[in-house]
């Protein structure tokens, strides 16, 4: 498995190198951007080819070209000096490698949705057998969900030649690599960095290894808030590219990812950012998989169970808004009962007040992360308002995990505040 994952790492690195010239200046961020673009390009090729074998063959061809380019870029760079941050990166990667792969898939959505989809794709060798997705017995498995991680797991299955309940989780491990490198691009010998590592990789309990996608949505969401935050502070374009790439990945992990992207775009439009050729290039690679999957869904008639596209969606929202209890129940359940988001907001508020007393302005990065968190919270609030199911039951089975990005983005804002205090 270690060999398969190492090959997959090189493959993704090669694919990403097609779009990103490698530079040792800020090595961690460059590596993560290249890997992130590799993940998106691999998914794009798979969606276009619709077959695992053709997708991998095409990907292999591009990966070889990319790796040659990567090698050429590497030779031009000054000699690599080993830094302590890579020891920590390896340690974190090692811990998660052992944790993710030592447990079989045993949780509900992991088995009934994500890795079941992966198995269907692996058995068929393709994603386009519409008869499978429409089989009467599969109507509970949310066939309209994005297939980024399932397709990665199916590709691993193709390379291994069999299926079991352990190794497909290797796809989760591969997905974890870009955020690890991105977060370590903030490395410094400070308490704030320690704080960042704790909140990003140790605050989500089992959500990063149990096969649910919510932990990954939260991790990538907070990472994108970090990257865009640093972009607005330092105007370093690599941060902007990385942020866009992270958003592209979020949009293809789970439907909530689209909601997060919409929230982040609202903030980015308000804040404004420069547009040039490379941004467009990365933007296209990041958004094409979502566009193609949306076209396939429409062609194959795959619908979401929330019935967002039905005519009575506004009626449902209006009825709940005016029934006198639903908005309060939703707010209380989301914000207090089932998630620790209120603690994060309370901490943000406290530290912001300390900063203001110190006569310091709250940084743009912190404001961006907190605003995104608030906006996403109201997005979720609206989703629960329009749900066609019993809202209490719907929330009791999902609110704790759908709120993860809200909490983590607020904590990201807190990280920027702590860093400001240190400065």
């Amino acid at each position: 498995m270690f060999i398969v994952l190492s090959l997959a790492f090189l493959y993704l690195l090669g694919l990403g190198s097609i779009f990103n010239s490698f530079s040792r200046k800020n090595l961690a961020e460059n590596l993560s951007l290249t890997l992130g673009l590799g993940i998106l390009f691999n998914y794009l090729l798979f969606l276009l080819a619709q077959k695992i074998s053709i997708g991998l063959a095409l990907g292999g061809f591009f990966a070889v070209i990319g790796l040659v380019r990567f090698g050429r870029d590497l030779r031009k760079q000054p000699k690599f000096s080993f830094s302590i941050q890579f020891v920590f990166i390896l340690l974190l990667i090692g811990l998660y490698y052992l944790k993710i792969l030592s447990e079989p898939l045993h949780d509900w959505d992991a088995r009934s949705i994500w890795f079941f989809h992966a198995k269907i794709i692996w058995l068929e060798g393709a994603i386009n057998n519409v008869a499978n997705w429409h089989h009467l017995s599969l109507q509970w498995t949310h066939v309209d969900y994005p297939e980024l991680i399932p397709s990665l797991a199916a590709q691993l299955g193709y390379l291994k030649g069999y299926w079991n309940e352990f190794f497909p989780k290797g796809s989760l491990f591969l997905m974890l690599l870009p955020p690890i490198f991105w977060v370590f691009s903030f490395f410094s010998n400070t308490i704030s960095f320690l704080f960042l590592v704790f909140i990003m990789f140790f605050s989500m309990n089992f959500w990063l290894w149990n096969g649910y996608m919510d932990g990954y949505i939260a991790l990538y969401a907070a990472t994108s808030a970090l990257l865009f935050g640093r972009y607005y502070e330092k105007k370093n374009l690599v941060d902007l590219y990385s942020g866009i790439c992270a958003l592209g990945i979020i949009a293809n992990i789970k439907n909530e990812g689209l909601l997060f992207c919409a929230c982040m775009f609202v903030i980015l439009i308000v804040k404004r950012f420069s547009i040039h050729r490379k941004i467009i290039q990365i933007g296209v690679v990041s958004s094409l998989p979502t566009v193609i999957w949306t076209i396939y869904k429409s062609m194959w008639n795959l619908h979401n169970d929330l019935k967002i596209d039905s005519a009575d969606v506004f009626k449902r929202i209006f009825t709940r808004l005016t029934d006198g209890s639903s908005p309060f129940i939703i707010f209380e359940t989301l914000f207090i009962d089932l998630s620790p988001a209120w603690k994060a907001y309370l901490l943000v508020l406290g530290v912001a007040m300390i900063l203001l007393r110190m006569k310091k302005k709250i940084s743009v990065a912190s404001r961006l992360a907190i605003c995104t968190s608030v906006l996403y919270f109201f997005g979720l609030f609206s989703i629960y308002l329009l749900t066609p199911f019993n809202v209490v039951e719907h929330m009791s089975s999902s609110a704790d995990r759908t709120m993860l990005p809200v909490t983590l983005c607020a904590l990201t804002g807190l990280f920027f505040l702590v860093r400001q205090i240190e400065e």
Partner: protein, 140 residues
């Protein structure tokens, strides 16, 4: 005389970190869980590698009823199957037998049905195999 260089201790960031650690107890539990699993796995690397490299490994976490149905679907090489309402009443069992047995299909038209051993089998059907909790029944 040597003057000691005064080092600024970042009291405020340290305090915020400590408050956060106490507010989010998941940080401690996640950290402990990761370390514990790493130590356990490193001691028994053989099992770790065996699990990753064995086809169908990990199905033992499924409920007993699912494991029994799965074993009968495979041993009798059924292409389609169906189960009684009593079995289907447990949503976890219902979904897991469909997901794990795939590509063997769950279809109402199937002649091979699963019943709980405690259930009465329709008179036109013949019991093909009986396990601890579930029986496979052929209904022509």
């Amino acid at each position: 005389m040597h003057l000691k260089r005064k080092r600024n201790i970042p009291y405020l960031p340290i305090s915020i970190l400590i408050v956060t650690l106490f507010s989010f107890n998941t940080i401690e539990s996640t950290f402990r869980d990761l370390i514990k699993t790493a130590a356990k796995t490193l001691i028994d690397l053989g099992t770790f590698n065996h699990n990753l490299n064995t086809p169908l490994a990990g199905e033992e976490t499924l409920p007993q009823q699912v494991q029994e149905m799965l074993s009968m679907v495979r041993s009798h090489n059924l292409q389609t199957f169906y189960f009684s309402n009593q079995i289907g009443a447990d949503i976890w069992v219902y979904q897991q037998i469909i997901a794990t047995a795939w590509p063997k299909r769950f279809e109402f038209s199937s002649k091979d049905w699963f019943f709980l051993v405690s259930e009465t089998v329709p008179s036109r059907c013949v019991v093909t195999e009986k396990k601890k909790e579930v029986a496979l029944v052929h209904c022509p």
